[in-house]
């Protein structure tokens, strides 16, 4: 079981690496943005951060880096690709996911915990959650305001591509629970085939006991489940 964490100039890849290596005890390697070989990886992660200083548009320059040709091929062949924060922005810019991320509606960097509702728990990334489960996960972004036109949104909803929505603690999809103005309170979406997931919140930052919240670990456990790997002994998980 081998994970690859892609590193662009300005990526913040250490958190994902740490969780896979130290908390889950699986094999993980950094993949430099100039590399052109993703052979042998069971899952590729595009981490958060500020690739290329967010110049032009967040994720735009990273989306045309050499490694992205391979990530696109990898995804087209059904490989698992997870984009978190800036990684989500890169996936949108690369055309692997539909829509775009705008500046937050109230133009301010938002860095705090939010509640998310799991709308689709049938994916490689979400099978360890219950459908409708409310989880708390931190966000840290200035450009997380998801946009897609109305018709496309309806299509995505019908196809189960809306995976996470911002909600209240009670699970209500309300505008006061929306931290950035995203249409439909959308926090995370997947590709049609379900093998590519992009999300603005950071599950890797709430995936260890010492952090007081392990809700995010279930993303990684879901991937392991899906790939048919049993949970490692010694890892304690709380819902």
């Amino acid at each position: 079981m081998r994970f690859g964490v892609v590193v662009f100039p300005g990526s913040d890849a250490a958190d994902c690496y740490y969780i896979i290596d130290q908390v889950l005890g699986h094999s993980v390697s950094y993949v430099w943005y100039q590399e052109r070989d993703l052979n042998g990886f069971d899952c590729v992660i595009l981490p958060g951060g500020f690739s290329y200083g967010d110049y032009l548009r967040a994720g735009a320059v990273a989306a045309v880096a050499p490694v992205m040709d391979e990530v696109v091929k990898y995804a087209e062949q059904g490989g698992l690709v997870l984009g978190i924060g800036n990684g989500f922005q890169v996936l949108l810019e690369a055309g692997l996911l539909a829509g775009a991320l705008r500046r937050n509606e109230i133009p301010r960097f938002r860095c705090h915990d939010v509640f998310l509702k799991v709308e689709n728990n049938t994916l490689p990334f979400t099978n360890s959650y219950r459908r409708g489960e409310v989880i708390s996960v931190p966000i840290a972004h200035g450009e997380g305001n998801y946009y897609i036109d109305h018709q496309e949104l309806i299509k995505m909803e019908q196809q189960g591509q809306v995976v996470f929505r911002y909600c209240t603690e009670a699970g209500e999809i309300a505008s006061e629970a929306n931290p950035n103005g995203s249409v439909g309170n959308i926090a995370g979406i997947c590709s049609k085939k379900g093998n590519v997931l992009g999300m603005m919140p950071h599950p890797e930052r709430c995936a260890e006991e010492i952090l007081g919240n392990t809700a995010g670990l279930h993303i990684f456990l879901s991937i392991l489940n899906w790939l048919g790997i049993n949970r490692q002994e010694g890892v304690t998980v709380h819902g």
């Binding site: 032009l56 775009a100 509606e105 946009y147």
Partner: protein, 84 residues
């Protein structure tokens, strides 16, 4: 050589937060006649080609592939010949 001046702006219907904030600032200065402010990006490219139509095609490609996100942005550009 050609110089391309590219203007990128948000599509209609996409809220221009920066424009809205700038408008707010101008109102604070008393410019009540300001109805709307639109912001965008302005890029100047210098191209080492002598062929106008090749330059035009290249700029269009660059806009489509990287410079513009057509989900939320639109663009125009003008080309002018410049001396080396």
């Amino acid at each position: 050589m050609f110089e391309a001046r590219i203007y990128i702006s948000l599509k209609k219907g996409i809220l221009d937060l920066e424009g809205k904030t700038v408008k707010h600032g101008l109102k604070s200065l008393g410019y009540d006649q300001v109805e709307d402010v639109k912001t965008g990006k302005y890029l100047v490219l210098t191209l080492s080609t002598a062929d106008r139509s090749a330059a035009e095609q290249a700029v269009e490609e660059m806009c489509e592939k990287l410079l513009v996100n057509k989900v939320m942005e639109e663009y125009t550009f003008e080309l002018r010949e410049v001396e080396e």
